[in-house]
Symmetry: C2
Subunit: 343 residues, 2 copies
DNA sequence: CGCGCAAAAGGTAGCGCTACCATTTTTTAC
DNA sequence: GTAAAAAATGGTAGCGCTACCTTTTGCGCG
């Protein structure tokens, strides 16, 4: 009585090898390192594979070789434009390499992040990219147990899990606000949404720049944990103006809010920057083409994603970067919305 | 002479089983269908797994069971806001199910799409979601060979590979343009970028609506294959006005262009809609908060992603929807930017 | 109190590939 | 021409899990 498990019906490597007249292991080498074969066998395996329409079974490969060709990526949001640039860098850099990207969305929840990390653990990714530096202790433990290169992105800070690519949100915000002050603005408001750790650090930069100039006033601050949006920028400006009608400038936690603030100014017939200066954060594409063009802090998001993948790939191949923490910096893009104040 | 392959060092199911005092297969069942165990063993396996920190090996599972718990998703762009909404729907709907999403970016290239489909084939995904209805013959062949539920999204059309969720871009554009005409606009321009198949069908709707009213004029059309952006909207309007200075309305292939057009109008001190009506496409969030609020065609992008996953998951479980093609329709959101023209 | 049947648990044999070593063939050096 | 080194190829034995079937256990009932 023969008891057989259903075969998948797919072509297997063995069949390719048989048709090519080589051993299975030689055929296997062809797919992983063709240069290791002599030209004649290489040719034969190639044509046999093509003839049979062979597709390698990744699960079997992963099981036998104890590794996968997957890089896990954890980001907090798919909606936020900021991350689409980072992702573009990530996907661009992964292309051409034999690694593929496995994306997961934490929705700004560090608990969700913890769960997703455990999920990734089961997949034994070859590398990992996580957003930010505020993981739970549990998450860090999982990451340390994962035994693969890991890059934290978006920020730099002390004590990296492994590698880091980002910039200082505090410094960037500090620079942006510090630029407004000598332009003659004094009642500089802060509007922020989402208030994830990075926005909080931007707030820190704002606060300290204001304090340094003795301009800090809690009435100038409007924040909400609600997810950011352009519309929200308008409401937050309305709130701000009701608390502090003499506000003469706004530093926005991100560019969406800044655009919403601009629209709200237009609705109120406040001219920018005469009645209200506006500074955003991230320098999304629309900031330069708005009317008037809006000042913002350019962050190297695409590059952040690209470098993170490049560093992880290099580390997989054993070429760790000499310095595990890379600060990509930022540039203050000064535009019409923060011109010096007319006396 | 013992020749041993290096073990992974991870806890295996066998070890969990041993600690729990059950057979490996019983432990295996615990992770796939806990109800099949008696409460006492269930309890013992659970605590053993926890004690050892067991993490199942997905590659081994996939190999043994001949299936994965992955749904492949092919989209043409990560930058375009439109897809971030679709993705959000996809990720939201997949959450809670035991399936994970594998995303790949075709960059609007049907050849890249073909390649990526072959890559997916090697992973034997449990389901597949692809964007659009314009795959190559080769791509269709691969999809048909994949033997898993497939949903085409963003559009509806004849001859689905399997299932479809979308709407008619032609109808939506036709409706948008047809709404402008009775408002008194006659020289209605079309600006389009990227010009992927969906934008081309929108153009078709514009063209036919204009022809139906005997208003069609090729000088009113400005398109470019360049990827879309807000800034580009401004340049395209500039082009349009140099070709047809008497243009009194613009139908934009998407909302980014529409916002760019609005900014360009502001720069030229053209008032909207008095001097220039503007209609966009997709109804991104900023359309309603712009000044003036911009008319657009709302498309159910989040829902598209959500339904696609839901349909695929149902099909995996054998519950195919009665009707394989779902038209989610669209809504014309009429706002100030296309108010009736003053005589 | 044993019988029959369903539910629960177990044994065995792969899934398709690659690591590890051994062997054969080719190239190089002298 | 031969020895040594290098390159190419092959054989064997799993990787960790689950499908498939068999065996055991629990339990209601005549």
């Amino acid at each position: 009585m023969e008891r057989k498990r259903a075969k998948s019906g797919e072509i297997r490597l063995t069949e390719v090898a048989k048709l090519a007249g080589v051993s299975p292991i030689t055929a296997s080498r062809f797919f992983r390192n063709p240069e290791a074969l002599s030209p004649s066998k290489r040719e034969r395996v190639a044509s046999a594979a093509k003839e049979l329409g062979y597709v390698p079974n990744l699960a079997a490969r992963a099981l036998a070789s104890q590794r996968t060709e997957v890089i896990g990526v954890l980001i907090p949001s798919l909606t936020n434009n900021v991350f689409s640039d980072v992702l573009r860098g990530i996907y661009d850099a992964s292309e051409g390499s034999r690694y593929s990207i496995q994306l997961a969305n934490t929705r700004y929840s560090i608990l969700q992040e913890e769960q997703l990390l455990r999920l990734f653990q089961a997949q034994k990714p070859a590398g990992l990219i996580v957003t930010g530096i505020d993981q739970t202790a549990e998450s860090r433990a999982v990451m340390e147990a994962m035994n693969c290169p890991i890059a934290q992105i978006m920020e730099v800070g002390p004590d990296p899990v492994d590698m880091m690519v980002g910039f200082s949100h505090y410094d960037a915000a500090f620079a942006a606000v510090s630029h407004l002050i000598p332009q003659g603005y004094q009642r500089i408001g802060f509007v922020g949404a989402q208030m994830d750790p990075r926005v909080q650090r931007r707030f820190g930069g704002y606060r300290d720049a204001m304090k340094a100039a003795s301009l800090f006033d809690p009435r100038l601050i409007v924040t909400t944990p609600v997810p950011t949006s352009i519309t929200l920028g308008g409401s937050l400006l309305a709130d701000l103006l009701s608390k502090a009608p003499d506000t003469d400038a706004v530093f926005c936690g991100n560019d969406d809010l800044a655009l919403g603030v601009l629209f709200e100014c237009q609705r109120r017939h406040l001219s920018v920057p005469e009645d209200m200066a506006i500074v955003g954060f991230n320098d999304l594409e629309f900031m330069a083409s708005a009317v008037p063009p809006l000042t913002s802090v350019r962050t190297n998001r695409y590059e952040m994603g690209r470098s993170a993948v490049t560093m992880v790939l290099a580390a997989i191949d054993g070429n760790r970067p000499p310095e595990p923490v890379v600060d990509l910096g930022f540039q203050l893009m000064v535009r019409e919305s923060s011109l010096p104040r007319r006396a």
